[in-house]
Symmetry: C2
Subunit: 493 residues, 2 copies
């Protein structure tokens, strides 16, 4: 069992005056200030009766207060349950109950709703502002971190069934940060922009990197193309974590400009990226490193390294140094170019879902995590993620991968977003249908289908095209395909 | 227990065509080539009966063959005992016996002496060239590495008593490499020069960094100021590991020139550095990062980070991120500015000396290693290593630290090397005496003593000055003070 000095204490000892968090509206704080605030927070929240091992929920949008609370709870040894603020109250109460949360700490703007939630769950609630007014309790704070201890629980967005609480140890977060550094390098000039929600692992991992690397985080309350653009062009941001939709908007915002030379990369996660988008980025000289990861892997576990970014456009890259990956089909490991389920293994992979034996026995096999995602490795070992298994459309015995069709649709002039799902069909089992957002009024279903027929096998061509104003996305801006399926059957009612 | 894919397999999968080893005479090999050679070596050496868990000695000076053998043995799961080629046969036989070595693999030029050694120990011996002519055995090589497994045993130069076998797990080497990267950064243009012997941990650690970072090693057979200079100035070397004597020669070789801008640093280890030397480096714009470490800590564990290098000249810096350090005096932890014994803790610290309960119980206390070295922390937490405890001179109840006197001597014009030891004295217990190497013939004892009296308290001033042509140094070029003590008593015979 590896033991280290508490990370924030260590960082504050190594580089006390370096910037920890830079917030375009609220100014900057140093690592020493962050440590002092976090320790003060922990002593105040201890006044409420929070004890080591307690599960404490944080219900907040991105803010320095939220960062302080996340670190503060680690000084007590409490487990941090990070709540997605876009969920319905009912969904949140489910998570609080599932993880035995005794206390909910809220952003000030979410306090009122927090009270409602806490009432249903019969637990206590305090806003960050309320905590700040408490006295500090005399308390000996944790001086060391054991890597095997659980730090966070984050629920997977789980497009089917009930969400599962993914436990992350300190070690998971540590190895994730180290794995990324071994791939992207470590430069004293790095500044990482966080506009992804900190309650998702993709945003949270940036906080861990900040403390472990000694790197400033440029923190935004939420994604805003203008603010991100400004961060890069005026404020020295070198790395931005994005999902496809964000990248698309940023490239539009960039227009004819180019980013400063010091800008290192867009780290693109959150599902397979449309090739069209990657080519658009390439044309605008925007360096994009595609990644593959999930809550269970504490963010990226596969990343396309700088030297291969252009040569292997569309690939998610190779598994990071401490990680292993294999493709499995019917219990056999398969190799080049064959599609199968992606299995991963490594010290950044969760030890398991919280109190969920059924999910654990289904997902873990001899130390390997079965991701449920489909992909293949090319002959050089690069991973191509084909699709999420649960989205697989099977039509007349043929497998259809929605992303492939979406890629084609996005290549059509006049279409700006696309989502494909399977619709039940008496003859074929399922047929693909598409939901699209258009920016040309004159675009009609028949033209879209004709375009697809040119590009795709007939069985892959969507049987219907539905036009929407926007596609349903979750807090990470990932397309939520099951909501499209819901729409499908509502339309028929 | 953390498990990873075998590092060299992983590195060869990630960046097969990148340079692993660059040798100014023998050309370069890529990671893919190194993997293939190492795997072939392991299959050939298995033909000799080498089995997982066997202790196999490597008796070689720096060469690509040696690197191949080091990696090759890891594919079998053998433990590598690294022999210092400058030891007497008697000393080597002691180590072979102590670590139960069954087989000695030698560099081709050392084979003859290897045969002699092996005869005394009654174990087998083969040169790398002999191994290369063997057939490959069908064998399933290790695909994974468990970080808790032992990889190497390196004997401490041990200036008193019998040498102790320091065991290093794969994890020790891993964490050492990661700790260094968190301090020095990771740049795809890095190229690290190894002229320190690979049989010492300071040289060995460069090989581990190479595989883990994907970084080329510029390998020299031994230290040669011209070749190191050429490596930096003409061949893109960015980091060089040195000890004081080497640094001094390199600065002399540099003359009026400056190193290219891409040159990152001299990583200076192997004992406290004279301030005069650090100031000389500063004047020549040579970036020096002073470090503190030992075999037991798998190389550096404390390093002066770039931003503090000039402000804290003479300090060894702060303990690396995953490491902890405390100063202990009479069983109490002491803080600012008080001198005491340096204790360290962290995942790069050896799990213990090989089969040596007495040394282990003496050195390890609740997970902390008592280093036997003396130092203090300043009010900002920077470590200043005062001296090795065993070299402490106690005179009339006053503590005298040889390094302090040596620093003064080295500041005197005409003196190029200096070593101070205690000489038994009826009245005072001990008195300090100095051995110096001069480059001005006219320099006499009286002038040196007069110079010291100006700079030092009377009790610290050497009672005698002995002039030598060279000081006794070990394979790492560290001053071996006990040999000076031997000289002292020989002189009196």
């Amino acid at each position: 069992m590896e033991i280290m000095q508490h990370w924030l204490d260590k960082r504050a000892a190594l580089s006390p005056d370096d910037t920890a968090i830079e917030h375009p509206m609220n100014g900057s704080i140093t690592f020493k200030q962050l440590r002092d605030q976090a320790q003060s927070f922990s002593r105040k929240v201890a006044q409420l009766g929070v004890m080591p091992g307690d599960a404490i929920a944080i219900y907040s949008n991105n803010s320095i207060d939220m960062v302080t609370a996340i670190h503060g709870l680690s000084y007590i040894g409490a487990v941090v349950v990070l709540l997605n603020t876009r969920l319905s109250n009912q969904e949140i109460v489910y998570q609080l109950t599932d993880s035995n949360v005794s206390f909910v700490l809220t952003g000030d703007d979410l306090y009122e709703n927090g009270v409602e939630i806490a009432q249903s769950r019969q637990c206590e609630v305090q806003s960050f502002e309320q905590v700040s007014r408490l006295d500090e309790k005399q308390l000996s704070l944790k001086k060391e971190i054991a890597l095997e201890d659980t730090y966070t629980i984050i629920y997977t967005s789980g497009t089917t069934g009930f969400p599962k609480g993914v436990q992350h140890t300190f070690g998971n977060h540590w190895w994730s940060a180290i794995s990324s550094a071994l791939n992207l390098g470590l430069d004293p000039r790095d500044k990482w922009l966080a506009s992804l929600p900190l309650f998702h692992v993709g945003g949270f991992s940036i906080l861990m990197k900040s403390v472990i690397y000694g790197m400033p985080v440029y923190l935004l309350d939420h994604f805003d193309a203008d603010k991100v653009h400004q961060g890069i062009v005026e404020n020295g941001v070198t790395i931005v974590s994005v999902v496809s939709v964000m990248l698309d908007r940023l490239i539009d915002r960039l227009g004819e400009q180019t980013y400063p030379e010091a800008f290192k990369c867009m780290l693109l996660g959150g599902g397979p990226a449309p090739k069209v988008l990657l080519e658009k980025a390439k044309a605008c000289l925007v360096p994009v490193y595609q990644t593959y990861g999930m809550t269970e892997t504490s963010s990226q576990i596969v990343t396309l390294s700088p030297s291969d970014a252009l040569r292997k456009l569309g690939s998610a890259g190779k598994p990071l140094f401490p990680a292993q990956l294999k493709i499995v089909n019917q219990d056999s490991v398969i190799t080049n170019d064959e599609i199968g389920e992606i299995f991963v293994k490594g010290p950044m992979v969760t030890p398991g879902y919280y109190q969920n034996d059924e999910a654990n026995s289904k997902s873990f096999h001899n130390g390997w995590l079965a991701t449920g995602d489909l992909g293949y490795l090319d002959n050089e070992g690069f991973l191509y993620v084909v699709d999420r298994r649960k989205d697989l459309i099977i039509s007349g015995g043929e497998n259809i991968y929605p992303a492939e069709i979406e890629n084609v649709l996005l290549g059509m002039s006049g279409i700006v977003e696309a989502g494909v799902v399977g619709k039940d069909d008496e003859k074929w089992g399922q047929v693909p249908v598409a939901f699209v957002v258009k920016n040309e009024n004159s675009l009609h279903e028949s033209a879209v289908i004709a375009y697809c027929l040119e590009k795709l096998a007939k069985y892959k061509t969507p049987k219907h095209i539905y036009f929407l104003d926007a596609l349903p996305r979750n807090a990470s801006n990932k397309l939520v395909r099951h909501k499209l399926v819901d729409l499908l059957y509502k339309e028929e009612e």
